[in-house]
């Protein structure tokens, strides 16, 4: 067996499966990986395939990944039961600069499954809310049935200024409706210098949400985004995630807006 083979995955048993929505399940794996917030793993079922999946939360001896059923691999992952194994390698990528956010007014805008890669940050500051001046959280989903982590969102509301919205409600929905961008101007920002904004979601959502914050005169360097790309290796070889001279798997997936705005696919 080759030493230092970065392509060899290790198996990790599934210890818990939480159905967040009809198509999004959170899988808890027993493993010793200590990731940074915002990093990802290459996850596979040998015979089916491998894909990069962001870590949604982690703690002593476990990591969580919230996985949407959208393709061949994720369909098969959704068939797995507690006790079955997933194969993983990583963590890869750079993660969010958590230290930089401490003592500041943190604003997180997350769209859909984009909530997963920032969930561990939300939970960190939920537990350590004194480390922030203020914490605004904007969360948007397509419809009420797409809402992820509903119990946790309700818990977060105790300490965090949460605005939850769906693009389109249904007859039972009494909350906010409309895109996240609609709620950005409502956020009160006292001091731009002490503000940090994280935006994660589909490309189009990140683009227009960034523009809303820029309209509020938030400096570009205060905005952080996370990119999703196809990746076969996660270690700068396969070329799929490259944008110009930047490898999303190496220099990302988290980018400061000053860098992200010039990344043209």
């Amino acid at each position: 067996m080759m030493k230092n083979n970065p392509y060899l995955p290790v198996s990790a048993p599934i210890t818990k499966i939480t159905k967040e929505t009809d198509i999004d399940y959170t899988f808890r794996l027993a493993c010793d990986i200590k990731p940074q917030n915002g990093q990802f793993l290459e996850v596979s079922i040998p015979r089916v395939g491998e894909a990069p999946i962001s870590i949604s939360d982690f703690g002593d001896g476990y990591i969580d990944m919230t996985i949407r059923r959208v393709g061949k691999l994720t369909n098969d992952i959704h068939e797995l039961k507690v006790g079955d194994k997933l194969f993983i390698r990583g963590p890869y990528g750079n993660g969010f600069p958590l230290e930089q956010y401490k003592g500041k007014h943190l604003i997180i805008a997350a769209g859909g499954t984009g909530l997963a890669p920032v969930k561990s940050i939300i939970n960190y500051f939920y537990k350590n809310i004194d480390e922030l001046k203020r914490f605004d959280l904007l969360i948007g989903f397509k419809s009420p049935k797409d809402v992820l982590f509903e119990d946790e969102i309700n818990k977060w509301k105790e300490k965090i200024n949460v605005t939850l919205t769906v693009d389109k409600g249904d007859e039972n929905w009494e909350g906010n409706t409309g895109l996240i961008t609609k709620y950005v101007p409502d956020i009160k920002i006292d001091n731009m210098k002490d503000t940090e904004v994280i935006i994660v979601g589909p490309p189009i959502m990140m683009k227009f949400t960034s523009m809303e914050f820029l309209k509020l005169n938030v400096p570009e360097k205060k905005i952080w985004v996370s990119f999703e790309r196809k990746m076969s290796c996660g270690i700068g070889k396969c070329g799929h995630c490259k944008i110009d001279e930047t490898y999303v798997c190496l220099e990302g997936p988290v980018f400061n807006y000053t860098k992200a705005k010039d990344l043209i696919d």
């Binding site: 060899l8 995955p9 015979r47 491998e50 894909a51 994720t74 070889k237 070329g239 490898y247 696919d265």
Partner: protein
């Protein structure tokens, strides 16, 4: 260390080397050409000097010798994975300076980019010795001189092929035992091509702004390119791959994970689960490839990826010329010429 050897003596040496090395060189594959009754020149194992084709360029580069089209990363059964053993044979490749420089680009991606070495590449690569074919004429589509890749001193042996004999510059002392009993000592320094028929001027990377990315020059490629990916498969420096899992048995428990060459010109290169992708138009893909070869690789590593072998021009079914594309960019970026479509 220089030698002059008669062709038959050189063949004797090749014969002896074969006990220890697999020997690859540019050779003729009969009736494998693009049109009926035509041949293709490619890389394969050779037995003797006469097998080596010197008067035509190879259609494919020698990269598959160290970076196979399909490469098994590991086999899996229900509970375990097993990495295949590395091939034991050492390898000799006859190739031109541009291709040696091309393999330097592959080395850069596989061994230097990112935090880990690609062990599968490394274990094949470290077995290879370069036998450099002296190249002073080139072919019609070559532009190695412009790319600064017409020269290299990284070879085990450099060879000038004359009618009846060969001149050798031997650098690799491991091979001395094979050569020292043959021929006569004669100082030999290989020459390199000084001027190609095709030339390119590369726009200075710092001057290539985001406007160039959106420029209408790319639209022609949207109209013309059919996205076959031949330019990628023939390129000595294209290194992209995709993972592929396959299983052998009906219960799907036993199989392998392998990587296969990927092409940035082909649909689904960027597609993620759910089908969302980037660069839907061929022109955008041409821009992506062009910038990688003559712009952004340079920004990352300090030298250009493209070595000017011109194979992408040779193989394109739509007669797209990469060297002309580079020159069009230069004209737009450096000379402000926006009329050229």
């Amino acid at each position: 260390m220089g030698y002059q050897l008669l062709n038959k003596d050189f063949n004797d040496i090749l014969n002896q080397l074969k006990s220890e090395y697999k020997i690859y060189g540019p050779k003729r594959f009969e009736n494998k050409g693009r049109f009926s009754d035509t041949d293709v020149i490619g890389y394969g194992e050779i037995d003797k000097l006469e097998d080596i084709v010197l008067d035509e360029k190879t259609y494919f580069s020698p990269k598959e010798i160290i970076y196979p089209i399909r490469q098994t990363l590991f086999y899996f059964t229900e509970d375990e994975v097993k990495v295949p053993d590395a091939p034991e044979d050492k390898v000799i490749v006859f190739l031109r300076p541009c291709d040696i420089n091309g393999i330097k680009r592959l080395d850069t991606i596989f061994l230097e980019n990112g935090p880990y070495k690609d062990v599968y590449y490394e274990r094949l690569r470290e077995k290879v010795k370069f036998f450099m074919i002296e190249c002073t004429e080139g072919f019609d589509s070559c532009f190695c001189v412009s790319m600064n890749s017409n020269k290299t001193h990284d070879y085990a042996v450099a060879i000038r092929f004359n009618e009846e004999n060969v001149l050798i510059d031997l650098k690799d002392r491991d091979l001395l035992e094979y050569f020292e009993n043959y021929g006569k000592a004669e100082e030999f320094t290989p020459e390199y091509i000084k001027e190609n028929k095709a030339k390119v001027s590369i726009p200075y990377p710092e001057k290539v702004t985001n406007e160039m990315f959106e420029h209408e020059v790319w639209q022609e490629y949207t109209r013309r390119c059919i996205g076959c990916g031949r330019c990628n498969t023939s390129c000595i420096t294209c290194s992209c791959f995709t993972m592929q899992d396959v299983y052998y048995d009906a219960n799907k428990k036993v199989g392998e994970r392998r990587r296969v060459w990927a092409s940035c010109q082909i649909d689904v290169f960027t597609n993620m689960a759910g089908g969302h992708g980037f660069r839907e138009k061929q022109g955008q893909r041409m821009r992506f490839k062009t910038m990688h070869k003559i712009n952004d690789f340079y920004k990352r590593f300090g030298f250009h990826m493209c070595v000017g072998c011109g194979r992408c021009d040779d193989v394109c079914p739509e007669y797209i010329s990469f060297s002309k594309c580079i020159n069009k960019l230069y004209s737009i970026v450096e000379e402000g010429n926006n009329d050229e479509k």
